[in-house]
Symmetry: C2
Amino acid sequence: MSEHQTEQDGARTQLTEYLARNGMKQTRQREAILESFLGVSGHITSENLYEYVRAQYPDIGAATVYRALKLFCDAGLAHALHFQDGVTLYEHEGHHHDHLICVGCGEIVEFECDDIEDFQLRIARDHGYRLTKHRHHLYGYCAKCQSSGTDRK
Amino acid sequence: MSEHQTEQDGARTQLTEYLARNGMKQTRQREAILESFLGVSGHITSENLYEYVRAQYPDIGAATVYRALKLFCDAGLAHALHFQDGVTLYEHEGHHHDHLICVGCGEIVEFECDDIEDFQLRIARDHGYRLTKHRHHLYGYCAKCQSSGTDRK
DNA sequence: CTTGGTGCAAATCGTTTGCACCGTC
DNA sequence: GACGGTGCAAACGATTTGCACCAAG
């Protein structure tokens, strides 16, 4: 688990440095929450992460998980995504890509497209904007849902 | 003929038909809320629409506005957009375009780009998806915020 | 006169905050 | 020891729901 190991360690040091740089403290809880967060492969809600954390560390409260997740975003370790139905999911930072979401079964496929990125920059420039980030979500029915008729509507 | 007039009437009949088709009733409130909604040019939150409606029809309750807005989405008259910070805005349907958002002052510029739309279709097809909609948001600093230094961060 | 709609207030949901105590630095 | 972090429970803001009454069909 070379790469994975590297990501874990990199994130850990990144957090440590961020905390030190801001006069904040490294705690058991923050390490545990980061570990759980990194253990998740794709996307997760604050709530689910809380459940997930609690399974292993029953003494960690919800407030701490919410606070930590916000901290991770500030530290550049996580990114918050707000989806169509109002749900907020968090994903690892650096893991940048866009999303193709099945409205039938909820599957999320990630994609990258450099051509689109280029057009985005051009559009921003045309309007005098300096881009900092973007969010690109495509919604539709995946192959399975199309054949199973879930796409009726 | 003002297209606006056409849009208003079109929306009104569309709602009437939707209600009839689903055995639902056409009420004063629904008409009033639709009118207020159509009177808004860009984007609006449920809450703001409630205030806006209440200014003209003080006897209409919040629940009714929320219920109506959801109804409009089902009827294909409105679309809900979930933004980065968790805020939900509604916009008129058919008014399709994507968004360039200033994270400094909150300005929202709308844009369209056929090339990007083409790439989206290609990506979806490559993954076996049948697209139904998409949401494409670009975040950055507008020219004003860049020169006023609001983009410091 | 039947059935869906409305207003109100209470309930709910996810998230945040105040506070007394605890652990890091 | 000082000061930030934590857990808990209470507070919160936006949205939803239960219910008795109202009105469109």
